[in-house]
Symmetry: C2
Subunit: 439 residues, 2 copies
């Protein structure tokens, strides 16, 4: 048998969560959940496996073409493990469009899979918080989402020096590429793709790529100017009469006003270079950047996707929201030293006296049972190790208290209660243990 031993490693690029990792995950998830619930969002979920068509039509082409975990099931159906959470969310809403009270405010926390080369901050699986508001075309919904993002970040201890929400509106890009520069559809498509990657290349490289795609030098200069400009200077790039009738322009104006009113603008900044790679983005778009000089990069983002639901039928349902990944968030928290010490939830180990009689064993079992009834978390030792090993076990696990009882203690209906942090030990009657542990 030994020749054919299995590997004890998880699937490449995927994570095992040992208890100390799980505590971090639970901390992140419960913080997410708490803020979403404060905003009146309802939690939902859907299967990790979907019919392939759910992703084939609308997820970005990079995801579907090369990153999808897809296969044919035993019933000859084409299926895929979800690479993101938005398409199935929309599927669920279409499934009960008539019955659901609107507006719909939903959040979920779910695992996604993409076939990528594993690297720092990017595995083949990751969790995301997905949160959206459906049925509100007004910018006030996006403002709610921005507030929620900021409250989530604050709940993790992050302040305005640590991250920034950069936002723009896709319709400003249409104003530039379509209404002003009047590029054909194909050139617009290529230009948007290049603009989305603008921050990864130099100004020269960007200009070269645009002209290689058939744009004139002047057009390329306009695009570069657009990507560098502040909101106030947009009219120097795009003629004012085009901006005056552009919904993206008025949208951003109103959002900035609300953000300033509630002193949230310090977390935010207009940035025309924000594009988002998803085909279904169609209004406000935003990305949240880590400002850590050692790890400056986009952590997560969101957008309007008012028309995505139309792949399921003729619905009228505005949509806006974001998805926030656990791996990048955890790196952000570590980078800014915001990850708290997370101890085990177990409060006390009830030891098993070596060579216990059945009677002594039952004495300690009863103590454990009674403490649990009082909602104290108890690890009852059930094997015959030396006391010293049991104390080391509790210490290594970070469990703060240990209860020891031998025949002598049993006779007098007491226990020894040891505090592993202070090393103090005292004798306590059985009825007082709960009170002592609560102090």
């Amino acid at each position: 048998m030994n020749q054919n031993l299995l590997s004890s490693q998880p699937y490449k690029g995927a994570r095992d969560f040992y208890p100390e990792d799980m505590r971090i995950r639970n901390y992140i998830f419960s913080t997410w959940r708490k803020v979403c619930e404060l905003y009146g969002f309802d939690e939902y979920d859907f299967p990790i496996l979907e019919n392939l068509e759910v992703f084939a039509s609308k997820s970005g082409e990079e995801i579907v073409g090369t990153q999808l975990f897809s296969f044919v099931d035993k019933g000859d159906r084409k299926v895929a493990i979800r690479p993101e959470l938005t398409p199935s969310t929309v599927r669920m809403i279409a499934g009960r469009y008539d019955q659901l009270p609107k507006p719909i405010k939903w959040f979920m926390i779910g695992n996604n899979w993409r076939f990528e080369k594993p690297q720092k901050g990017r595995g083949r699986e990751f969790y995301q918080l997905e949160a959206n508001i459906f049925g509100v075309p007004e910018i006030e919904a996006d403002f709610e989402i921005f507030s929620m993002i900021i409250d989530i970040m604050s709940a993790f201890g992050a302040n305005e020096s640590m991250y920034r929400i950069y936002f723009s509106d896709r319709r400003l890009i249409s104003a530039l590429l379509n209404d002003y520069l009047q590029l054909d559809d194909n050139k617009q498509f290529v230009a948007r793709r290049l603009m989305d990657k603008r921050k990864k290349v130099t100004e020269q490289e960007f200009a070269l790529m645009l002209t290689a795609a058939g744009l004139t030098k002047t057009q390329a200069e306009s695009i570069e100017g657009f990507m560098q400009c502040k909101f106030e200077s947009l009219s120097k790039i795009i003629p004012s009469d085009i901006l005056a009738t552009n919904n993206g322009y008025s949208n951003v104006q109103k959002l900035e006003k609300l953000l300033k009113k509630f002193d949230l603008m310090k977390y935010c900044e207009f940035d025309p270079a924000i594009i988002r790679g998803f085909d279904y983005s169609d209004g406000l778009v935003y990305e949240v950047f880590d400002k850590n000089p050692e790890n400056r990069r986009s952590m997560f983002g969101g957008e309007r996707f008012d028309r995505l639901i139309n792949i399921y039928g003729k619905y009228d349902l505005a949509a806006t929201g974001f998805a926030m990944g656990d791996i990048t968030l955890q790196e952000f928290l570590i980078g800014w030293n915001l990850l708290p010490e997370l101890a085990t939830k177990t409060q006390v180990v009830v030891t098993r006296f070596p060579n216990s009689t059945a009677q002594l064993e039952e004495y300690t079992q009863k103590i454990a049972r009674d403490l649990r009834k009082a909602e104290i978390t108890v690890d009852l030792y059930t094997t015959g190790d030396k006391l010293e090993k049991q104390l080391k076990y509790a210490d290594k696990k970070g469990i703060p208290f240990v209860i020891i009882a031998g025949d002598d203690e049993m006779q007098r209906n007491v226990v020894k209660l040891k505090n592993l942090k202070t090393k103090e030990q005292k004798e306590v009657t059985v009825t007082d243990i709960e009170k002592e542990l609560r102090n």
Copy 2:
């Protein structure tokens, strides 16, 4: 576009969790989690996708042969979506065998997939609570597990009239088939498989199947007698000298003693017909049955699997635990009318007065923000519907309170607070809203 509309249904046999379903799931998961933590168990998790080999060697043949969702990834690696949680749990323990403080008490809640014909109580995906103790060969660990199962069932409101834990020990079957009847390995294997399905066939059918497998009529009668007998009468089937040296026999004896001591035997019953289909079961085995006359069946089970870890190397690590599925549990709770009403967590809707000025809108936005700071869950209405529609929305969602403020209320720094259950409405100053909602 309309000709090619996508289906809004989830993948066949898998479940969408709309908010009302998600509340049930969260209730089940949090009850599981709470009791496991009371017992000092640490939560862990691992990827839903595993290298195929993890399951190929040790899961039951039915699962691996016909039910596994397996495929080849884009890197030519054979992978599978997990059909159960035990094999990967053991993989993780082998992966850090030397570092982990022992005993190891771990629980997780995870999703499994099996390609089955969807039917009542069985889909293609289900969640399980998996809880195990590693490193304790003593029956006291199994007693802890039994107590934990009973405490979980009690936490859901179930009493001894509603379910029963039937238990046996696989070594008793060895005593019967090997030591006493002296069947060859092949016949033992077939007999065990048939015994596992005994409750699904009549006595006659069972006898016929055993003799068809090459057993004599007398052997078949012994097996039938074994499967019907009480623990006290085992020695009428298997000679006492065989039982006297059988570890399964002494094990069951000790377990019964502990169960009686703590008045838990009323939930439990020895039943030699309990076998378990998993190849890795190798000591105590148990299955928990719903006693509902309309749905009498096995809900979940557990076992000793002391040797499973050996597929990863030469380890010495006793193991015992169970896995409890969410679908069967939910049916049990519904069948016994134990599922509570689970309301939304949102406490109040802050309405948006139709045709609000920017100033009035900011007034209500600030109220929502301040309540959230006070940890009140607030659904802020952000679209321009009629007030009546907003009240209906809150009512349909089961949100108990509504806040209404127009220009008049804003001038006086008050709001109307409406209780949707009592239909009462009163005027409250902004600073008193929190207090009123907490009452």
